[in-house]
Amino acid sequence: MRIYLDHNAGAPLRPEVRTAIARFSAADEAANPAAVHRGGQHARRALEQARAQVARLIGAAAREVVFTSGGTESNNFAIRGVAGAHPIRRKVVSSVIEHSSILAPLDYLAGEGFEVIRLAPDSDGRIAPAAVAAAVDTDTALVTVGLANAEVGTIQSVAEMAQPIGRAGAIFHVDAAQAAGRVPLRVDDLRCDLLTISGHKLGAPAGIGALYVRAGVALAPIMLGGPQEAAMRAGTPNLLGAAAFGVAAEAASAHLDEESARIAALAEQLLTLLVAAIPALRRNGSAVHKIANTLNLTFPGVLGESMLIALDLEGVEVSMGSACAAGAVEPSHVLLAMGLSRDEARSSLRLSLGWSSTAEEVERAAEIIARVWRRVRAAEPLTAAVSAGTAASTEATR
């Protein structure tokens, strides 16, 4: 049996979701929710039910939820949608530790002449609300901050950032793709205007997500065409995905407190077992402000790349930073921003638990990880030669 410790990359389908998809597939009605006929009406009812389920997960009204193709589209929509709807304001505030689906649209805006402020985190991966307050002004169109960081799990105090943002008249977007379903979320408590959530992090299939758009906030659509999703997002909705998303959202919120406590205990147990077996193992990220499922760990004296592959061959699936286009792993930009050296970042792995994790898996994973670490360290020590070469090859890159 393989052990899946990569929930932050995407969770396996929840049993409730599998059932819902099977039931949905068995239905004999073609389904375009915009169609006038009875089949269309049933499809529309299913879509709106899913919207209400997703809205409940984040404490929003159903009409404030726009379905998208996933977290990446939601983030693109938030950033480009605000920039397009507020052409007078020419400044955007964010941080350097955001997901690539935030960073790349910000680069795009910078290329369009926007001033883009990217705040640096502290060594825990926390963005100071005071730094946001200092950066935001009446020329600021948007502030976008990730609620829980995908790589280290650190949670930002977004509610404390909201007041100066609102006072400056800027829109506040929060990327909650990693937080949704793991901590209780209410958009009114977060005091945000826009919120990204993603289906496959919750145990729905990939290809469905949502953007919460607070009533009254103007966004320029980035997908043009028909008037679907209240004219915010053209294209026939992914009804099957939305239905699965709704069921996943409901399942995640149903026992959120017990389930997040269970996963937190498992993660603590895993960390305790690993710390006992691996001297000088270090955890990255805030010990206090965090989603409890995520363990970002620096393994002394080994390359994370080797650990990741060796663990996969032993049936334990983990991840490291983000993969490049060729499929090789790169050191995490988040860890580098938190002040880790390149070597430390290259020795770090992310283990993320979720609904499918069990105590038995955690015990077995800890045993395998410790064994693999000992083997990798003995066979392939992280020597000066391995890391010192970087400078030499960069000389040739120029």
């Binding site: 090789a328 990798v376 066979a379 392939e380 030499a392 000389e395 040739a396």
Partner: protein, 364 residues
């Protein structure tokens, strides 16, 4: 449990078939594609075919792994490749020598760094798509032999392998011809069955070594100077000794009644000595960093070998004597050999067997 083997995959047909054959033989195959060359900053060049580490080639390797259903990973060895292969390549050119980076890559990366990685991954063997054979004799000693396909034989690039390496290395293609390998690839439905061979050095896809050296090295390391004749008379100025190779005729920018060849490169003074063809003939050579595939098989006495002083050259009968300092003195049996080019590998054979080799220091 079957033995685990780490297969170095370039995306080309050879390493793909090698991996497939090992799968069929029941090995626990783990495919790896190595990121070696630093990303080329020019997209037009990065897109070119024929380099060994472009994304497209990784995708070909990945497809083979999908077809044969074995795990496949891309590993980042750019730092090691930069420090141990590219830096050496640049320093050798700046020192007036003509390096062979494929030999260095085999010695430093595929059969050193990658062997470490194999052990880290619990693999017993490293395999590649090289055309060469390994045989184990009754006494447990390993022998490195030329490939069955003489036209594809790559044993020249592998002379640095010793007993510990050979004991843990597999060359599944050693007994096959290239035509057989392509036929196997088509049988297996591999998309790269008819893919073109890579010819250039992988990190210099445009083949312009001089420009690569000039971009990689700090300007003060370049050694400009004069092209001089055999009597030391200057004939022309040049921009750096790295632009020349001993034995080179073309591109000297000289006009003379008879063709002139580079005979010697003096990196310290920046002098490139040219002369007519006959002056290239050497009686022998001095090699450094000499290693033997099986040191126990080589005694203190001089031995008769055939030596190849360039990949595509025929082996020349010669006598080999190892000096106390680890250098070897190679005396050719017949005169009239090709140009002896410092920096190139010289590899010693006895029949089909690789005895060992070293790097050419100078002609004798």
């Amino acid at each position: 449990m079957s033995a685990r083997v780490l297969v170095a995959m370039s995306g080309g047909v050879d390493s793909s078939v090698a991996a497939a054959i090992l799968c069929e033989r029941g090995y626990d195959v783990v495919g790896v594609a190595m990121r070696l060359a630093p990303e080329d900053p020019t997209p037009a060049i990065a897109r070119r075919r024929g380099t060994c580490c472009s994304h497209e080639d990784f995708e070909d390797a990945r497809r083979v792994a999908e077809v044969m259903d074995f795990p496949f990973y891309v590993v980042d060895l750019r730092a090691e490749f930069g420090a141990r292969v590219i830096d050496n390549f640049v320093s050798e050119y700046l020192g007036g020598r003509t390096p062979n980076p494929c030999v260095m890559c085999n010695r430093e990366i595929k059969f050193d760094r990658l062997r470490e990685r194999a052990r880290a991954l619990g693999a017993d063997y490293v395999a590649t798509g090289h055309y060469a054979r390994i045989e184990r004799d009754a006494g447990g000693r390993f022998h490195l032999l030329r490939a069955a396909d003489a036209a594809k034989d790559q044993s020249y690039f592998l002379f640095t392998l010793g007993q510990p390496e050979l004991a843990r290395t597999l060359f599944p293609l050693g007994a096959m011809t290239k035509a057989e390998v392509r036929a196997r690839a088509r049988e297996l439905g591999l998309a790269n069955a008819d893919k073109a061979e890579s010819q250039e050095i992988c990190f210099v896809p445009d083949g312009d070594y001089a420009r690569f050296v000039e971009r990689a090295a700090a300007p003060q390391r370049l050694r400009p100077g004069s092209i001089v004749d055999l009597k030391g008379r200057p004939l022309a100025a040049h921009a750096g000794v790295h632009r020349f190779t001993v034995g080179q005729r073309r591109g000297l920018g000289l006009s003379a009644s008879a063709p002139l060849y580079v005979r010697e490169i003096r990196a310290e003074s920046g002098e490139v000595v040219v002369g007519p063809r006959e002056d290239l003939v050497a009686a022998g050579l001095l090699a450094r960093d000499v290693t033997f595939v099986d040191p126990e098989s080589v005694g203190a006495d001089a031995i008769a070998v055939e030596t190849r002083i360039r990949y595509r050259h025929p082996a020349l009968p010669a006598t080999l004597a190892v000096e106390p300092d680890g250098r070897a003195r190679v005396t050719f049996a017949n005169s009239g050999g090709p140009a002896v080019t410092p920096g190139q590998a010289c590899v010693f054979y006895r029949g089909d067997e690789v005895v060992g080799g070293g790097f050419i220091e100078r002609a004798l």
